[in-house]
């Protein structure tokens, strides 16, 4: 059932929150090189699903299997919040993230790539909402990880940024990563879509 390129397998996954079944019986196989978009109305359970995948939410039924036991080594997760401390500047923030996640690469170049050249040593407290998120997104321009899990990566990003982000996700997939992300606004083309609605999860590709 699972071949060498399988990265993630969900078997009969289900999650209940606040007396409501967010989804149940969710089974799927996601492979290297694929891009999965998770859609659904507000409150459908997208964020919860991503948190289950990366191991932040432990109350669920069914099984979630990553391709290797040490999957966290090769995971890049960006949550709703950018993971940027306001006391530190973008460079310091990025360096810490890299050290923690054992991610190699050139932080300066990555910050330049997301349009923060010149802001490297401005304390993040003085950045706008979107600029803060760009600091987090800079990790996508560093050493590529095998799996990307991104919660609403387009939030607060302006239009040029969105296009650039799209391109970067495409490129990662072509290079063999599995990209999973949520978004309301844009329906990507050429991506697999998992739609959450009324407690059901359906693949609409």
């Amino acid at each position: 059932m699972s071949d060498s390129s399988t990265r993630l397998e969900l078997v009969q996954l289900g999650c209940e929150r606040d007396d409501r079944m967010l989804f149940s019986g969710l089974s799927l196989t996601a492979r290297a090189g694929e891009i999965w978009q998770i859609t659904g109305a507000n409150g459908a359970g997208k964020t919860t699903l991503l948190r289950i995948l990366v191991g932040l939410h432990g109350f669920f039924e069914g099984e979630r299997r990553w391709w290797q036991p040490q999957w966290q080594q090769d995971l890049l997760y960006l949550g709703h919040q950018p993971g940027v401390r306001e006391e530190l500047n973008p460079l310091e923030n990025l360096r810490y993230a890299c050290a923690l996640n054992h991610q190699a690469g050139d932080p300066m170049a990555a910050l330049a790539a997301v349009g923060l050249r010149g802001f490297e040593d401005v304390p993040a407290a003085h950045l706008s909402a979107g600029q803060k998120r760009r600091v987090a997104l800079a990790r996508l321009w560093l050493q590529r990880k095998a799996v990307w899990v991104l919660d609403e990566p387009y939030t607060a990003i302006d239009q040029d940024g969105v296009a650039q982000l799209d391109a970067q996700m495409q490129q990662a997939a072509e290079a063999g990563s599995l990209v999973i992300y949520t978004s309301h606004h844009r329906v990507g083309d050429g991506v697999q879509r998992l739609h959450l609605e009324n407690g059901r999860a359906e693949v609409v590709s």
């Binding site: 209940e16 929150r17 606040d18 079944m21 109350f59």
Partner: protein, 241 residues
């Protein structure tokens, strides 16, 4: 086996019908014997009779916290659902017993020591035990997700059990350091068997009552948590209890 909520429910259904009357009867027998028939104390007259409530309550409160710690360990380490249920079910009665111990102790203090409150080692540690119960309950109250709340409270209770032991030891140390043995509660040796047996009986009765209370609370909690499972809806449809 008991780890399965469903099994627990059937099991407790079978146990409760006879455990409840036994608990009530034992407690009633102990209390009636102690309060009405045991001889009056030659020093304290009848005021000592509060012992029949005070000592069972105190020991029940202590045991309850130990049980909380064990449930905490099981819930945090083995993620067992029933232990989470227990964490929620054990705390309230235990806190109530700690409060009863404090109140009866204080009431007893007035005739014996002339004051309601002394910072005596035992009284102080019971007060701290009450605080620790409150901590567990407060934490559970503020966390919304019931499973998460139980696990958080479980971790706190585990740490708390270690603390109970150290507190008991250290509070006694303070007392011996700061003041001599002026305020000794009279030791067991002085208890005359005519007082001892009713005391043991009411103690046993109260513990059983505690167990009944925990089972009842746990059953409600189990039903609530599993309300969408088949076995619960079946039971509801059939009108079983």
């Amino acid at each position: 086996m008991l780890g399965s909520p469903r099994y627990f429910y059937t099991f407790s259904s079978r146990v409760l019908p006879w455990l409840t009357p036994i608990a009530l009867l034992t407690l009633a027998a102990g209390l009636v014997w102690g309060l009405a028939f045991a001889p009056a104390d030659y020093q304290q007259g009848n005021s000592y009779r509060i012992i029949f409530i005070h000592v069972p309550a105190s020991s029940g409160a202590l045991m309850g916290y130990m049980a909380l710690g064990v449930s905490g360990l099981v819930a945090v380490v083995w993620r067992m659902k029933m232990a989470e249920v227990m964490l929620k079910s054990i705390a309230p009665f235990g806190a109530a017993l700690a409060a009863i111990s404090l109140v009866t102790g204080a009431l007893w203090g007035k005739p014996t020591w002339g004051t309601y409150w002394q910072w005596d080692a035992r009284m102080t540690s019971m007060l701290i035990l009450l605080f620790m119960y409150v901590g567990v309950i407060a934490l559970q109250a503020v966390i919304r997700d019931p499973r998460q709340a139980a696990r958080a409270a479980g971790l706190l209770a585990m740490v708390g059990v270690i603390n109970v032991v150290i507190v008991k030891y250290s509070v006694e140390w303070v007392q011996t350091l700061h003041q001599g043995s002026t305020l000794k509660m009279f030791g067991e040796s002085t208890i005359d068997p005519a007082m001892k047996y009713p005391l043991l009986l009411s103690m046993l009765g109260l513990w059983l009552l505690y167990a009944v209370n925990v089972l009842l609370r746990a059953r409600t909690e189990v039903l609530w948590r599993e309300r969408r499972s088949k076995w619960v809806s079946k039971r509801v449809k059939e009108g079983e209890h």
